[in-house]
Symmetry: C2
């Protein structure tokens, strides 16, 4: 397994791979790898001849009051995990290598970036799109892998790749969960034992709402209210950031649940902001 | 010479070129090709094994009151000119092929886009950056060629390519002029005979200002005033949009002319908005 710290080093490793016409997969991460990330690596390994993983905690996508400094970092353990899963290259750039001089250029996706997490994290998705564009240009993969836990991020990146004609395929892989349903996240490490005990209520609320929708197809605001009640009961220490029932393609709020909907939520436990979502298909879709 | 109308067709033509490890040059244009464009093609032909030209009048970079509908189009003549200059591929997409569905994604470069032409054409450079990004992703050239007449555009694209780690080199070629000094532009076709007679005053004013700076290194506002007086005298029918003396890298207004400066101007003759610029190096730079 090779390790690169600069774009030039990445290209030195990957040019022979490309010249040999091997397919190249990229798994962009912020490190502190968990089984969710590793499932992306496994998917990439199954599809591609060569897999690159990037590990970069991107300052552009953190707001001024967010957890950039505290964000968990575990480069040694990450490298060992990548090596064990058959990764060919880890790109682990220092911030100065990614942002030499002031980055004046921004890639942004209107509308899809303004709802859900975008509403409470202004500039977040432009930061994501800008760094993902950089990573895609540096690695030039045939396929890039993202997790469904970050549904909005994946939707925005798909749209960006389509709109800008990036020559690659975006692959979105299912959310990986702990045994009790909590979605894997590097930010779970922030949770106190009591918060950790309550955190599976996010998924519990989503499953409850899914059942409600499948049974009754109630108005979206009734589902939202039920989710909020469920969270109040089972995650008393959590502060709800949002609970939204949205169109899975447009990410805009819906009134009814007669078509396919995405239930998405964000809850803060102290400094740990956790997100989760569940797609509920239209009536007659397979259960 | 091949002609492609879709990204897929471009890739079909260019994949074998890339596989043969030939260097690929792209000259992005809006068509109505003149000797300025052809000089870019010649430069690309001299540097690269294979040259692609794109011809696309990009709606995104025109403001609502600008000349999108009137912009000169001459596809037959353009294709003949490309063929005569040894172009390998012309990419001539219909608008629907470039913008399938609503383009929500935008690439923008802060600060450099807000001055000079950007001040009077809000959104223009984001439109340019977005379409150039698309063209670069579709063609994936090793080198892309732009003209120095559009100095600000070239500076913005250089910065975008650097900031986003595009794997290519931006080449900027000198402005090509008519015998009387008028910079070649597709928009010169809009000029009435009397406007055409006055239009060389843009370059006349720049050369006058260059002489003044070289002799006296006066304050920038004195140069600006002299340029405005020159234009009033020699281009009475022209409406000045801007005359600015700026830092050649930052494009921000300067107070003195003791360092290298760019003199840039835009003048409207009726519906024809003409631009030109001249770089004056620092004292001791070679004349």
């Amino acid at each position: 397994m090779k390790i690169a710290e600069t774009a030039r080093q990445v290209r030195e490793v990957l040019n022979p791979v490309r010249r040999a016409e091997k397919t190249l997969g990229l798994v962009p991460t912020m490190g502190a790898l968990h089984e969710g990330h590793l499932s992306l690596i496994d998917a990439a390994r199954a599809d591609c001849d060569f897999v690159a993983v990037s590990i970069f905690v991107n300052p552009l996508q953190f707001g001024p009051n967010e957890d950039l400094a505290a964000y968990p970092r575990a480069p040694e353990r990450d490298l060992a995990a990548c090596e064990a899963r058959g990764v060919g290259l880890v790109f682990l750039p220092p911030v100065e290598a990614m942002y030499a001089g002031e980055c004046l250029t921004q890639v942004s996706v209107a509308r899809l970036s303004e709802t859900l997490c975008g509403a409470s994290r202004p500039g977040h998705f432009a930061g994501v799109c800008t760094v993902v564009t950089k990573l895609l240009h540096i690695v030039q993969p045939d396929r890039a892998y993202f997790g469904a836990k970050d549904y909005q991020q994946a939707a925005i990146i798909r749209k960006m790749v389509f709109d800008l004609d990036f020559p690659l395929t975006v692959v979105v892989c299912p959310t990986v969960r702990e045994a009790d349903g909590l979605a894997m996240s590097s930010r779970n490490a922030y949770l106190t034992p009591e918060q950790r005990r309550q955190a599976p209520a996010l998924y519990g609320a989503l499953k409850m709402a899914e059942g409600l929708i499948r049974r009754e197809r109630p108005p979206a605001d009734a589902v939202q209210a039920a989710v909020r009640r469920y969270l109040a009961r089972h995650a008393a220490d959590g502060m709800i950031d949002y609970v939204q029932i949205v169109d899975p393609a447009e990410l805009s709020d819906v009134q009814t649940t007669d078509s396919a909907v995405l239930i998405a939520l964000a809850v803060k436990f102290g400094g740990a902001r956790l997100i989760d979502n569940l797609l509920v298909d239209a009536p007659g879709g397979d259960d």
